[in-house]
Symmetry: C2
Subunit: 540 residues, 2 copies
């Protein structure tokens, strides 16, 4: 073997901070404060504070690979953690603030967090379990009164310690294969599982995000990550923005439709990223209280499928380009992006929306295949469903403190996503379901997701979930759970509409009206809870 003679220059996150400090020192990062008003500082300030945080953590005696939890909204301190913790040689473990106290305790103990950095506005959520977390040596608090330290054991103020730290710091992450981040998936079955990112995988993911065919932020962009930083590393946007020198707008706790609408208009946001629920809420807000948000060139949506009708409404009524994407915590998270390609140039708008409602093409760096029940590769014909398996530069190879198992990883090195999808001849992927959510009726597959999308495209429906319920004759049959808009839904009209797209046996046997569909900690519809509610088919 003849090795190349290029520099040995590791893929470590300190490179991003140094690049931002030199290339775009004057660009701004703004955070909407909990009480309203803005905090704003430059990338130069940011870089100095990241280095201070590195010294602060080193001073606490953290060893290489130790885990440091974060429990925070999207704000500048959380951004500092994204870089400062890994640069100190530790692992940034983003804790999901929407979990129950019990789940939180399980995850903090499973991860072995030695330090937790806490957003003071979230203190009430952590307080009940803090005294039981014996492995946590330090709680560092920000966004709070000085007296808040009395509410947690072994607590100190983040800002006080930062003020004492030097900004002259030598990163302790020389090896690109070191772990840098940890994020637990709130899987629909079993215990939460930790995905342990390396510096290398996150740097490559960042380069992947910077590609024009992926998201491609540049210095000129103003980026609003509505997707929480505790959810799949905020889709990698903080790293991509810092490397590109893009302006960042951090919404703090202000995730309600009205403040988001105001923020987007006032800050001239060009890229905003969040789950469909958020954009559905924003759309209805803007219908009620119009604002001009046509500054948005990419409304990035992921986490679950964006209904085609909503994509169309954003484009037609608000002049906003929706970029549908698909990812998973195990993919750091970006897998596909659904931008239009050259052959779509002449399509009319209805046909364009059909394309945009797909999850899209796999970005450079992610390789995919679909397989049937027997594990045989399925054709990319846009029709044949198969289980989606992926591999690539930023795909998990195992879970933290867990045996590598066949349920999640194939013996030939692919990650089993648990999603069922079709892929067409041009590589555009469409999720049809989760393997666990498919309705298997009389030997045929019924996609719960397709039914949900069709139902949610109806004027009368705000939200819809379809689950399988046991059926003596067919094995399983679909049941639809609906949240109606205003005046309720007419079942026969819904069936009529579904029959335009699907065979008769796909029609739900029952419709159930509820006030609210239960959600998981990351805001997805909680089908596990729905199945528990309607397990026997009873009407809750």
């Amino acid at each position: 073997m003849l090795p190349g003679l290029m520099m040995d220059y590791p893929l470590t996150l300190d490179k991003i901070v140094e690049h931002a400090r030199r290339m775009t020192p004057q660009k701004r990062i703004k955070t909407k404060l909990p009480a309203g008003g803005w905090h704003s500082y430059s990338y130069a300030d940011f870089a100095a504070r990241v280095n201070k945080l590195g010294n602060l953590l080193a001073g606490l005696g953290l060893g290489l690979g130790d885990r440091v939890g974060t429990f925070a909204w999207n704000n500048h301190q959380h951004l500092e953690c994204y870089f400062g913790i890994p640069m100190a040689g530790a692992v940034c473990h983003t804790l999901n603030i929407r979990l129950s106290a019990e789940q939180l305790k399980y995850i903090i103990e499973h991860a072995g967090d030695k330090v937790i950095i806490v957003d003071g506005t979230l203190l009430p959520l952590l307080e009940p379990i803090a005294h039981q977390l014996h492995g946590v040596e330090h709680f560092l608090l920000f966004n709070c009164e000085a007296s808040a330290v009395d509410r947690l054991p072994r607590a100190a103020l983040y800002e006080d310690l930062l003020a004492q730290a030097s900004d002259d710091f030598t990163p302790r992450c020389a090896d690109e294969n070191m772990a840098m981040g940890l994020c637990y998936t709130s899987g629909t079955t079993g215990l939460p599982k930790g995905v342990l990112y390396s510096h290398r995988s996150m740097m490559l993911h960042t380069l992947g995000v910077l590609a024009a065919a992926a998201i491609g932020p540049t210095e000129a962009d103003v980026v609003l990550p509505v997707v929480p930083q505790f959810h799949a590393m905020a889709w990698g946007l903080p790293y991509a923005c810092a490397w590109a020198g893009a302006s960042m707008i951090m919404p703090g706790p202000h995730l309600q439709p009205a403040p988001l609408a105001e923020m987007i208009e006032a800050e001239r946001v060009t890229i905003a990223a969040g789950v469909p629920t958020i954009w559905n809420g924003l759309y209805h807000e803007l219908r009620a209280n119009p604002r001009d948000i046509s500054c948005v060139t990419q409304l990035v949506v992921g986490g679950s499928a964006m209904p085609r009708g909503l994509i169309a409404a954003y484009e037609r009524e608000l002049g906003v380009n929706v970029v549908h994407a698909w990812g998973m915590t195990e993919l750091s998270p970006i897998g596909t992006v659904s931008k239009l390609q050259s052959r779509h140039a002449d399509l009319d708008e209805a046909a364009r929306w059909d394309v945009k409602a797909k999850q899209g093409y796999f970005v450079p760096g992610v390789e995919a295949r679909i397989v049937d029940d027997a594990g045989t590769a399925s054709p990319w014909d846009g029709e044949t469903m198969g289980e989606l398996q992926v591999r690539g530069y930023w795909v998990a190879g195992a879970y933290f403190r867990s045996e590598r198992d066949e349920e999640h990883f194939t013996s030939d090195g692919w990650f089993r996503t648990g999603d069922v999808c079709t892929i067409d001849a041009s590589g555009y992927m469409t999720i049809t379901d989760r393997t666990k959510d498919l309705v298997k009726s009389g030997g045929e597959w019924i996609s719960s997701v397709d039914l949900e999308n069709a139902l949610m495209s109806q004027e009368s429906v705000l939200e819809a979930a379809v689950i399988a319920v046991p059926d003596a004759r067919w094995g399983e049959r679909p049941l639809a759970v609906l949240v109606p808009l205003a005046d309720g839904c007419d079942e026969s009209k819904l069936n009529e509409c579904l029959l335009q797209a699907f065979p008769k046996f796909w029609l739900p046997d029952r419709y159930v009206i509820v006030d609210e569909i239960p959600k998981t900690g990351v805001g997805k519809m909680d089908k596990k809870a729905l199945r528990a509610m309607f397990a026997g088919g009873e009407l809750g």
Copy 2:
């Protein structure tokens, strides 16, 4: 150290071919044939032939790391070599067809090429030395009559061997640190030096090129690499295009202004890349024979500085956005790109062209510093000149079969570019000279490049070169060598113009009119030759 738990997925070039084969199988690669007309095939065809080439080379008994030379224009066979040779575990050594027979022989023997793949249209250039190249075990010829094999020893037809090879191939490049490419710099002093790229460095460079802030080609682009494939891997465009699935237009030997103009218009090229000489010629062609080339969204220019006047003319007269870039063979080659940033949005066009005439900002993945004669870091104030030093993911760390020396590499791990430049507070770099081309007059530095640009912006001047000539009183003084447009130049008018921008002591002591400025093998002005011609200040 706690390692991350992401997949082990090496940065090797086979990933690009597989991505193109699956994601954009139907997209086209077109080559303008030597006799006119087009060859066109799909990425699916391309991938199959690359795999055949892998088998072909393995069948010749090549070992891992063996060098395979290419001696060709930009065409689809050369593209196949770009991928097939490294995937066979060998090193793709691009030979510069513009070198003298003696230089070629030196480089082929220094590299130890075992196979050379030859474009038949270039046979006359290789024929004179072929029988002396005893280390070359096989010459493979394409673009030729079958009888051409009689003109070289140990020769066979590329197409014949390819036809016999299977397209079922297992890449032999499992280790990302393996060498994949070799390109010799035609340095202005000393012997040519080989830069040995690894799979890893080229993959990271490709991700760097794909970033929106760099070039950022997508599937929708139609890319014309005028920059030869034997010049710094055609700036990495073949790899970036294949990964993005962009259409490629390969010009073959048709690099004259008229066919280029026709090609750009007819093929609706969106990205074209070449040196200033090419774009200067194209501009004058389009003045004489107008065509609409406003389809070009990025006219990428590198290799040497593009005069501001030419940037302005393209934008104002042709509606073409010029993207100035800077690179070197040692940087794979991309270092900087000069796209406009957010703060330039409100500039008038004259001010915008000032920005675009700079070499631009360092792209993510490349780190820079400037130092003075004493090796001390110079400030980034846009005024202080210093020697540019870089490091990063795709920067050479040593030359092939050469001791790592202090002339090119600093003891603390930076590559000395040999360029003198300024960098402003926003990281925009402006080359002011080569360290070797600076005119040192009475202890002051005079930038030969600044004078050349000012002279070339004059209506009466087609080309200008400024060199230092010895001077008894001042040490060195500038001498300007001019190629006038049509009616000759008026020396006093030139001086008048220079005085608007520069101090009086910068004015050339003499102007010399020539028919042509000698060029190096890669089309740059050959200042070594000029210095030889005018060493004593005599008028040639």
